[in-house]
Amino acid sequence: MESGLTPSQLELPGAAAVERVFREEYGRVVASLVRRFGDIDVAEEAAGEALVAALEKWPVTGVPPNPGGWLTTTAGNRAIDRLRREGQRDAKHQAALMVYDDTPHEPTGPVEDDRLRLLFTCCHPALAVEARIALTLRLLGGLTVAEIAEAFLVPETTMGQRIARAKKKIAAAHVPYRVPEAADLPERLGGVLTVLFLIANEGYLASGEGSPVRAELTDEAIRLARQLRRLLPQEPEVAGLLALLLLLEARREARVRDGQLVPLGEQDRAGWDRTLLAEGHALVRECLATGRPGRFQVLAAVNAVHTDAPSAQDTDWSQVVALYDLLVRFDPSPVVALNRAVAVAELDGPEVALALVERLPLEGYHPWHATRAELLRRLGRSAEAKQAYDAAIAASANSAERAYLSRRRGELV
């Protein structure tokens, strides 16, 4: 342990800094409290009370050396206080008794991690897919209900009800809080990987008005993907997802400059994290050797091709298109077809790509408008390109992306 105060501790944090630390630690705190008290609502309430306590204390004392431990201990004490006060109520009384039960918890499989258990609980097949994603974003990502509602394009009350219903089902139907047995893992895995990918996506291109990149979400997704890999080292899709997340993370610093999104082709490649790239590329090679391709492995391979090229001009576009052809077999969605068209534009020209893009039923999806705008621009059809940029700006909720699109539109004559 370090002794003495670090410079960051000498600077007293404001409320925004406290909230940032809280958000980074939220998933860990809640998962630990769910294990201890066996009740998601108790865990969330106690975590909220710990935030209030931190907001009172940290601006005076500084952030403690182990903020996660401080928050967990404080939240645990608040939960015990509350359960004691409400001890006459039967169910709560039983929960309170658990506090004094110091027998070790049942082994939960090869990897002991509260957050992994909570992830599998949130992604239980008995819950609707959208509820799984929403609940994971709430409990592990620490997103507010309003932020999740915005990401799903639904009213906040609707999302609140959806999350409440899922939590109620977990409690009333006794959805177990554990990592499933080895035999159940493969069928549960697809949903878990998808949710992790969506959490990372929300981190890379946050939909809300705040920061365009949410590092605490990408960090958490990578951390959980690493845990999954330790749990399932032979599963190539797990390696594929981890590789994909690492290759995206490696480019994080270069993705935003002066509040504007920087597209791949214009990024400063010297700003990419070499260590993360090396680890990601090694995982992609490992997947290739396994010979059991899947959606996340192919997406990782696409990113490996991009990050292998010394410059954007050197990108092996024929390989990218070939990988998208393969990806269509696992995921024949219009979104994949759109990404494929972007690569086709580099290989066969913008006219061929535009014909592909025009056919896709994606009018509500802002990347469709942005892609159309770029292709029209390259074809010299400025008036149509401007309209497409306007549509893309209107449909995008990310400030850095809107800034980028506005600049591109402004450059048109």
Partner: protein, 120 residues
């Protein structure tokens, strides 16, 4: 441990072979269901199970008024009804779901899993 109702849903209209296409299919399903019941008993999860007569045999009683009102037929007019059920006592939902999958295979019908709020 927690109690669940595993209910089997099938068409309201039955043929002479119940919900099944032929006598052989019906007899196979009965045999498989019997074997599943024995497994449930030996595993210790068994509480109670039963098959139901067709919905046409149901009578709805409304006793909320001064005198009870009887109506011939089921409460809900639907194309699908509960054909039978198991009540099981298991550690958690995962065990209930695994039993429901085995029960569904045995009786060749879709099974709904619903937790009990309490048992008298």
């Amino acid at each position: 441990m927690a109690h669940y109702l595993l209910s089997v849903h099938g068409p309201a209209e039955r043929t002479e072979f119940g919900d099944y296409g032929s006598r052989e299919a019906m007899e196979e399903a009965f045999a498989a269901t019997g074997a599943f019941n024995e497994e449930l008993k030996s595993s210790g999860y068994w509480v109670f199970a039963g098959g139901l007569e067709p919905a046409a045999t149901a009578t709805v009683v409304d006793g909320r008024g001064d005198a009870p009102v009887m109506t011939d037929g089921p409460y809900l007019e639907t194309k699908e009804v509960i054909g039978g059920f198991w009540v099981v006592d298991v550690p958690d939902l995962d065990v209930a779901l695994a039993l429901a999958a085995a029960g569904s295979k045995a009786c060749r019908g879709k099974v709904e899993v619903r937790p009990f709020d309490g048992l008298a």
